[in-house]
Symmetry: C2
Subunit: 345 residues, 2 copies
Amino acid sequence: MSGREGTTTHASIVDVAARAGVSVATVSRALRDHPHVANATRQRVQDAATALHYVADANASRLASGRSNTIGLVAPILTSWYTTEVIAGVEEVLQEAELDLLISTRRGAPDNHPVFGPNSSFRQRVDGMILVDVFFDTERSRDLVRTSTPAVVLGERLDQVASLSIDNHLGAEMATRHLLDLGHRRIGMIGGLALPGITSNVPESRTAGYESALAAARIRRDRALQVDGHFTIEGGRRAARQLLLGSQPPTAIFCMSDEMAFGVLQAARELGLSVPGDLSVIGFDDHTAAEAFGLSTIRQPVKEMGRIAARLMTDILGGHAAEAHHHPLGIALIARSSTAQLSVR
Amino acid sequence: MSGREGTTTHASIVDVAARAGVSVATVSRALRDHPHVANATRQRVQDAATALHYVADANASRLASGRSNTIGLVAPILTSWYTTEVIAGVEEVLQEAELDLLISTRRGAPDNHPVFGPNSSFRQRVDGMILVDVFFDTERSRDLVRTSTPAVVLGERLDQVASLSIDNHLGAEMATRHLLDLGHRRIGMIGGLALPGITSNVPESRTAGYESALAAARIRRDRALQVDGHFTIEGGRRAARQLLLGSQPPTAIFCMSDEMAFGVLQAARELGLSVPGDLSVIGFDDHTAAEAFGLSTIRQPVKEMGRIAARLMTDILGGHAAEAHHHPLGIALIARSSTAQLSVR
DNA sequence: ATGAAAGCGCTAACAG
DNA sequence: CTGTTAGCGCTTTCAT
């Protein structure tokens, strides 16, 4: 047998109707606070529902009404601090709006992406979707607009769709300039271009920002100084070792995420280098633990970004502002103890 | 207007049936690999479905079949490293099993918990649920068994339900004993008993383990040495300050999570104390960043726990082993550079 | 092997 | 203000 015995049959709308002595239509209306229901009736229905522990079946409602009261979120990685924080922000406002959250990670190739395709099982289950760091070329973003499912895009600037993002180019530039201002000339960069199956414009923009700061300081780009850290601590550690054990090691490193910077800190310790004495390190995010470890970084309001994205979503769903605008968010350089003036030896 | 125009009508099962020249019943069967469908027919149906980008509507299927192919996960906090890691493990196997994941955080009081109540909107949407660190008294766990929805409990030992957990008592004992072995006698503990609205037996078991190690060493318990750190970095920092600025500061601190230990490390730095010179610190989890910062800790296989929980779930759903067993998991003491012999001054 | 038809539990016109 | 009546899109007997 199937391991699922003891099925308790749940009360359905007919049971409530019977108990309250009204029709199912009235039950449906009363429970969803429709106007045109007598207070006495509403009360009677609610009592009956409570007594029966009745809760409308979400699937049936969805089928009948076309609304699922759940919004979907798609992100490339679920375990990064960044994604987690975004989700927390989203959850916060969705909870208040009584909406459920269905989370999906991007599986496989961009082509069978849950978001695309005129019909995807993911899409048909949600009233709207929040796309975190999912890359869009213009063609795809057009698809997105054509789609019937409202979307808000986080982490990318799109003008035909509601979107919000920070200026990644600027952030990387600020970080790099900070290092330059401290006298560093040989500055490494640890990025994350090769996450398998994932494309995002974040690494590209940040690389461009880093390079543009160097160019402004008339420093020639050195490809050997740019290493992939896969956006993980361990990846950052490995990348740092590669950089620091090279023939001309950098005196400072810019990391595209604080997690990678943590790995750099570890590598430095392992190699007996002091930070910031021998090596300056700056990250990106302002991870919850960054302060604890004195990591200089570019702060972005990650949780707040989640909140805003969710609010944009509820607004769209509520028929307010179908604003397909881009919402820019501010960032700030937070200088802590991991970066310091280049020591002349 | 409502912000949702351009609704593209999706192909439905009738469209596919029409295009393939068969009945909807046949389409349904063919697409779900039922036996008793001629190969030629199946092929024709599949081609039609592909051409139309057809995907069965999940809500309609659920309504008709009673199965949703999604499993729910409930956890008190979504943003802790621990929860994130569990989710990653769960996702990994669910993805392979083609099951969706619906995540819910525990809202409000235990009474209107998504998991309980004979009927909850959460429960009716999932085929099974994985409960992470949700506290159960015997009465509630009986409710859980009575329920028609299969459940697996992670983080607690329950014998009537499939469950898996580490031995929290032992872990805390190991950590404390490690500190005792290093000569420490005044050992602080930073726990997390007061998370609002959340109960879990984890803090209790770990407190008991800590106390039992002290008792074995004939050290009297000192309530002033036990402070709440809310399982966050900042909470750990505050708790540490309270402990270290007190009249008789400890020489070592056991934290119930690595994140709180990170906060302790920060506090120590701020107060000019060296670790492990002036203060030994040990955490719990083996957080991804623990190694990077040389934090001694009790390692538990968090992601693996997620995987196992999910596998247990798929097994139950598949009718294999409705094993209401408890699955114990191993832990290990990882001594790094944050703990050292008590220095006699 | 395939089709016809009866729902799954609810919502949404449309009457009254 | 409330009841009647169609479906929503799919699965599943029961026939054939």
